[in-house]
Structures are given as C-alpha cells and as structure tokens.
C-alpha cells in the first residue's frame, strides 16, 4: 500500500489511502448494510453510543440533535470550510457515475442548484468521555474514526458491543461524510488540549488521477510516522476555528459533536419537514430510552431553527403506561384490580460460570405488570419492555397470549442494573450476561457467539428459562384476583421458590433464611402423596413444622383443606402428630435435617370432575426457638 502524501502537513485537508493493483474494492461501506436504516434506528443507535460513553458521576448524559439548514452564501461558506472543491467534489462526481451510486448523483444534482438547502444534523453529546486516545491505540478515537466493526465501550454494562451502531452516522449522510468535534474528558494522559476535530468519509472504491483509492478518507492534518502516514486530528484553537466555520462548535463540556452532512433518511424518497422529523426523533428517543430518561441518566433534546424541545417520557402516550409500571415495579403482593394498578415479582435467574471458570452468583430480574385501562393507547398493549442497566429498551416483547378477557396489561422486565436503585453483585453479572446475549442490532436476548465466548455451557438454557419464567410470572400477575388469596399455581410455585409451596417463617418474622425446605406432592390414583425435608440453618433449641394440604380454585382462591391421614419422619429426634388433618413435626436436640413423607385420606378415584380433586397446595410453616430465646 502507498500513501498519497509523504510530508507532514498543517491545516485541514482531505487525505485518502490509495491501493495498488489488486487492492480489495468496496462498492460501499459494508457496515451500512448491517442494521436497518429508518429514523427510529438512527436515533436508537446514536443515543446508545452516547449513553455508553457516560462518565461516572451525577450528571446525566445529554444529547442534542440539532438540525441546521444552509443555503446561499452560508452554504458556500460551509462547503469552502469543508474543502469540498479541493477534496471531495471530484471524487464524488466520479462515484456518482457508477451504477450503484444514485444517492451521490442526487446529492451532486442538488448542489448544482444554488437555491437548494443543505441539511446538516449535529448530534452533540455532553458529559460523555469524548474522543480519547490516539490513532494507533485501542481507543474511542480509533474505534469511531479509524476502525470498522470495532467497539471500544466503557464497561460491561454498555449498550453496544459490536461497533455497528456508529455506522448509521454515515448511512444517513448523502455524502457518507461525518465531521467530529470532540472535547475529550480530562485525564492525566491527555497530551493536548481539546477540542479535537476530524472528518471521516466512507466512499466506495474509486479512481482519481490514475490511482485507485479504497474510499476511506479523512479531513485532517497528516503526520508521518515510522509506520507511515497517518491522519491526525486538528486540536485546540485551530480545531475551534474550523468547527465554528463548519457549524459544529460545542461547549467546553466533555463529549462529542458528530455532524452528518446532507442528512437524509435512506428509506425515504421525500424530504420530511424539520418539524415532523423533530417529533419523530423525540418519540424514538422516548420509545427506546425511557428507562434511562426516567432514571435521570439521560436527557435528550431536539433543536430546529424554530425551537428546542426535550424528550419527555410522559408525553408519548404509547409509552406512558410502561413508565408508570416501572416506577411502581417494587410493589409486592399488589393486586391488579383496577386499571392502572401495578404488581411485581422477582424472576429468579441462574447464569452459568464464565469461560475462565469464575463462578457467577444467582440473582433475579424484576417483572412488573400494569393493568391496562381503555384510556391507554394500545400500540404496545400486552407487550413487555425488556431492558437492562444501559436503560435502552431492547425489545417490546409481545405477550398477547397471556392476556385474556379484559385483563390487558403493559409489562416491564427490568434486568441487571435496572432492576433496583441499588445494584448488587448478581445484578452486575446479569447485566453483563444479557449484554453478550444481544445480537448486533441489540434488539433481542438470545444465544450468541459472544455468549459462547464469555460463558460456559448452559447460557442458552439460562435465557430460555428466563423467558419461560417471565411468561409464567406474567400469567400469575395478570390472573390474580383482587379479593381472593394470592395463591400461586403449582407451575408458578415451582418457578418462584420464594413464594413457593414452602414458607420460611420464624417467630420474629425476620427476612433472613432460617430453614431450607424442599417438598413435592403428587396425586396417586385416589389420594395425595407428598415428601420433602426441613433443615434448620441456624443454631436452635427446638423447631416445629406444620404441614397442610389445601385445594385451590381456578382463580387461585383457597378452598377446603385436604385432610392429611399420616406423616412419617426419618429422624428419631422428632415427634409427629396429625391433628385436625394437619401434620406437625416437633424437633428437639439434634434434628438437623428431617426428611418426611405422608399422604392424604382417599378423596375419590379419578374424580376429576366431581370437584373433589383439583390443584392442591402443600404448605409448610416452620418455626424455630433459638438459644437466645427469640
């Protein structure tokens, strides 16, 4: 490979790598085709990139989408500052003659019309890290300006991890050209004072003056190094001056302004009005980032020459029910009686060890549902918003099959660092796990190559189980009746052991774990049989466990007790009594783990339609007397 320039330059100019005969040819930027290209995707990907670059601290990430339109003298001034004539115009004219370059043709034609407007979109983020690092490092700067399909994200919880999102900036530029002006965060490693400015174009491979150019070009100053010439940013006053001429100047707060030149939605034939575009941007921001906005982690503004608006989660009626659901997700044992009621529960999650054998803690994610009202907009009725700590909705998951009658709902599954206000170790691990479960589009949680690389076997099962449990949990929340006992079905009991067919209880009603209890029951032709064990986990003088069976109704209401006829325990340190159809185990001394099995009286052979035999709940209430007497 040879370089076009061989001496050090000052001031900005366009620089392109040229290749000799046999150099691979690019019809267009390959990353452009990796994600969908509608406005919603643009907003989602751009906000995700900014959101991932947040700086630890109290200030939220702020992102402004600023539309600027230039015409007449302003347009001419801008193109001069961009070095259009000397650096890009001839190349783009050449490319526009290629068969696949109709977009470039249209843009050139537009520029020929002196009265035509040039539309710019500047995405300015603040309180983010900005473009740190150098060309030859693994850095933010290199990932955005140098590399393709490469990601340099802040931390394990970041939203993106493929480096694809940034490609939308070029996809939405009629000239595939983006200019960056960045104020890198202040660190001791910074060698120069910001801001830094550099432009990047991603044209197809083209011929110019007898040479073949791959298409990658930079508006930069060049520097000759031992490895050859490399594009360099403009810094400080020089960058500031050019940024002002290019309308991409920014406040001194750390962050990056990315200017998309000739902004256009590639999926549209027409140019929408700026006012309509601004509304689409605001809605898309709320649709995908309401968790981050609600948590105070992100603020989004859209600015047109006429007005500035901030994305407000309460103004998008299709999303408002999810916001209300998330805000009240911690309500325990809530009942969905009236529209607007919210109830939630924890969905347990077990993830496999990491590839390097590091153990991972078991944890849970938070599921909540809000009963829909006829007043709610029904665009996402009976959907569950899935998201994690990055605060971006990965997907609105359709669960219409769970709804029935007029029991419609809006659900949230808040995972990882979005589960609670205070993050525990398992939340961080779940966040990491789900991040690697996202495909390049970040719109699903599924088995991925990244997961295979990062975790041991069992990752697919962990995801499948989470979704299965989500469905069961949702059914339970939605089916719950207002004035019946909140008894869970056996299927749900199995999945939510904390509410399960065992109840851990001590006299002081402490939330600590005092007993380990496991049990199971089954119908044996004409009676119920059950088995299990009770194992105290603290020092004790004495403990008792009361075992009972209760039939439950279709609506989860408790019915009559199913009388227990006998119970035997495997320990000599316990005594067993069956009184009033309830069995009591009383343990003294050394009864550390007591296994038991028992059965009910006969309640009818095959009497499934008599109302005698039906879903039955095994309840175990255990109490302990400790040496301290509490």
């Amino acid at each position: 490979m040879t370089q076009e320039l061989s001496s050090r330059t000052r001031g900005a100019q366009w620089y392109f790598f040229s290749g000799g005969p046999g150099t691979p040819r690019y019809g267009d930027d390959p990353t452009k085709h990796a994600v969908d290209h509608d406005t919603e995707t643009f907003v989602r990907e751009v906000l995700q990139n900014s959101n991932d670059q947040n700086i630890d601290g109290d200030d939220p990430v702020e992102v402004t989408f600023r539309f600027v339109t230039l015409s007449g003298e302003d347009r001419r001034e801008f193109l001069n500052a961009l070095q259009w004539e000397s650096g890009l115009s001839a190349r783009i004219a050449t490319i526009s003659n290629y068969d696949h370059s109709r977009g470039y043709q249209r843009f050139c034609k537009r520029l020929e019309d002196p009265g035509a407007e040039l539309r710019l979109l500047i995405v300015e983020d603040r309180n983010t890290t900005g473009l740190t690092g150098e060309w030859d490092e693994d850095s933010n700067f290199a990932a955005l300006v140098r590399d393709e399909l490469y990601s340099s994200k802040q931390e394990d919880t970041a939203g993106g991890s493929y480096g694809l999102g940034k490609s939308v900036l070029w996809t939405f530029s009629s000239t595939s050209t983006v200019v960056f002006n960045s104020q890198p965060v202040d660190t001791k490693d910074n060698q120069q004072l910001g801001p830094r400015l550099i432009g990047r174009t991603k044209l197809p491979t083209h011929e110019q003056d007898g040479s073949t150019y791959q298409g990658a070009g930079w508006l930069c100053q060049t520097e000759e190094t031992e490895e050859g010439i490399r594009p360099e940013s403009l810094w400080g006053v020089e960058a500031e001056h050019l940024a002002e001429r290019l309308h991409v100047d920014r406040p001194a707060t750390s962050g990056t302004s990315a200017m998309v030149i000739g902004y256009q939605d590639p999926t549209r034939d027409t140019r929408p009005k700026l006012e309509d575009l601004a509304n689409e941007f605001l809605e898309a921001a709320v649709k995908y980032f309401w968790p981050a906005i609600t948590r105070g982690d992100l603020r989004v503004f859209v600015e047109t020459p006429e007005e500035e608006q901030e994305a407000d989660v309460h103004t998008v009626s299709a999303i408002r029910p999810f916001v209300e659901c998330y805000e009240e997700r911690h309500i325990e044992n809530g009942s969905l009686n009236s529209p607007g009621d919210v109830a939630g529960l924890d969905v347990p999650m077990k993830i496999p060890s990491r590839s390097d054998d590091r153990e991972t803690p078991d944890g849970s994610v938070r599921l909540a549902a809000r009963l829909a009202s006829p007043l709610d907009e029904d665009t996402y009725l009976n959907h569950v918003a899935l998201f994690r700590g990055a605060g971006m909705v990965v997907k609105y998951y359709d669960q219409s099959r769970v709804a029935f009658g007029d029991r419609n709902f809006f659900g949230v599954l808040a995972c990882g660092e979005a589960r609670a206000d205070r993050t525990i170790k398992s939340d961080a691990e779940i966040d990491r796990f789900l991040r690697f479960a996202e495909p390049p589009e970040h719109d699903e949680w599924e088995s991925t190559e990244n997961l295979r690389d990062e975790y041991q076997r069992g990752f697919r099962k962990a995801i499948d189980e989470m979704f299965d449990t989500l469905r069961d949990g949702l059914r339970h929340l939605v089916a719950r009746s207002g004035h019946t006992n909140n008894t869970l079905s056996n299927r749900v009991l199995k999945r939510f052991p904390i509410h399960g067919n065992v109840q851990r209880q001590n006299r002081v009603d402490s939330p600590s774990r005092v007993f380990e209890i496991k049990s199971s029951s089954s119908f044996q032709g004409d009676h119920w049989a059950f088995t299990g064990y009770v194992s105290p986990e603290e020092e004790f003088e004495k403990w008792t466990a009361e075992v009972s069976l209760t039939g439950i109704g279709e609506d989860g209401s408790k019915q009559d007790e199913v009388p227990i006829s006998s119970l035997t325990a495997d320990s000599e340190a316990v005594t067993v009594h069956v009184d009033d159809s309830v069995a009591r185990i009383v343990a003294d001394g050394d009864a550390h783990k007591v296994k038991f099995h028992g059965k009910s009286y006969e309640i009818g052979s095959g009497a499934f339609f008599s109302g005698n035999v039906g879903e039955t709940q095994l309840e175990i209430k255990a109490e302990m007397e400790t040496p301290a007497g509490d």
Binding site: E554, F609, S610
Partner: protein, 235 residues
C-alpha cells in the same frame, strides 16, 4: 318504547380521587357541576336512554325500603335495556363510576348500607373485571350474562336468589357465559348450602379442565355431576 339518546360519559381518574369517605357516607354531596371538570366523553361517543333509566331508578328507590335486595331484580333488566351498549363500552370502568357517582348516587346509598369505607368505595368505584363490585355495573353485567334476547326470566330468577348472585358472580368463572348459564339454571331451586358447595367444587374442578373449552352442555354436565356427588356423599 320510544327512546331518547343521551351521550354517555365517564369519570376520570382525577375525578375518582375526589370521592372521599364523607361522600361515601352520604354526608358530603357532590353535584354534577362539582364534577363536570372530571367527566369526559367515552371513545366512540356511545349513547343511551338515560331519561328512561332515571325514571325507573327513581321509581324503584321510591317503592323499596332502604337496603332491600329486591331492588336488584326490579332494576337489572331495565338497566340492561336502557343502557344498550356494547361489552367494549361496558368494559370501561369510568362509565360505571360516572353512573354511580354522578347520575345515581342516591340509588347506590339506598341499596347498600355503609359498613366500611372500602366496601362502599367498591359500590361506587368498583368495576372493570370485578363483576360483583360497582352497584350499577353488577346489574348490567349479570343481566348481560343471563338474558336471552328480550327474555330476562333467568336474570330475574338469579336476582331473586342472593346466594346465587354471591356465589356465582363473585367468582372468576362468572366471566364465561356458558358456565354462568349452566350454574344458574341447575342451581335455581337448590338450597343455599348446595349452591355454596357446588360453586366451590366447580371452581376446584376447573383446575383440571379449561373453562373456555367447555360448551354450555359440557358445563351443565359438569354441574350435574357435582350435584349428584354432593347428594350422594350426604346420604
């Protein structure tokens, strides 16, 4: 019968918040003007013969002493006929809140004695999926689930037996008409303890079979089987 159409309204969420204990007790009365700010049209602007409804409610209140349960039977078919609305409209709780709080609070207090704030709040501000709660909603829905075109005989029979009203319509399966019809027909002449036991067992049996998979004859057969079991076990 000539009818006059009036637009139906609903009480908003904010309007619900105005309803305090003193209103529920009948000590603090809110008139239509007090609440006008909190009343809005329903989607689709459905209408009903509210004038006829006012007349019949007024007459029933006048003719019955306080807390007389026979008001239900006297009113249910009229409420259903004069509120000729779709189930979709009837599923809007705000409609029933408006009818109870704004249009007919006197009827609600005349029919239901104040025992607790919670219970009375349910009579004014219940509705939605709970058929048994709001005082007017329950009349409409039970009539809706039990009438056959213009024939309200089953509706009248149900309301003349408060045990059936309580035991059938306060349960989840009451949202499924074939089950309701089977239970109401089969239990019409049974004593209270049999109604109690049958509906309890029916609820339990539905953990083995899918309610919505039952045809009316399936449901009837299930009820008959439960009834015969109950009488056999008594012998």
């Amino acid at each position: 019968m000539s009818t006059e159409s009036y637009e139906l309204k609903r009480l908003t969420e904010d309007g619900r918040r105005l309803i305090g204990d003193s209103f529920l007790r009948g000590e603090d009365l809110l008139n239509e003007d007090d609440l006008s700010e909190y009343v809005e049209p329903l989607p689709g602007n459905p209408t009903a013969d509210l004038s006829a409804l006012d007349t019949v409610v007024g007459r029933v209140v006048l003719k019955h002493s306080k807390y007389d349960t026979s008001m239900d039977a006297a009113l249910a078919s009229n409420v259903h006929q004069h509120l000729d609305i779709t189930r979709r409209v009837a599923a809007d709780p705000g409609l029933w809140h408006w009818l109870a709080v704004v249009r007919h609070p006197d009827f609600v207090r005349h029919r239901w004695e104040y025992h607790s704030e919670e219970a009375m709040r349910e009579k004014f501000l219940g509705a939605g999926t709970d058929l048994y709660s709001n005082a007017i909603h329950r009349l409409w829905w039970i009539a809706e689930l039990t009438h056959e075109n213009d024939d309200y005989n089953r509706t009248d029979a149900v309301f003349s037996n408060q045990t059936i009203v309580n035991k059938v319509f306060d349960r989840w399966f009451a949202r499924y008409r074939p089950a309701v019809v089977a239970l109401c027909d089969e239990l019409a002449d049974e004593p209270s303890w049999v109604i109690d036991e049958t509906t309890r067992r029916f609820n339990h049996a539905l953990t083995n079979v899918q309610l919505e998979g039952l045809s009316q004859s399936d449901a009837r057969e299930l009820v008959q089987q439960i009834l015969s079991e109950i009488y056999e076990s008594k012998e």
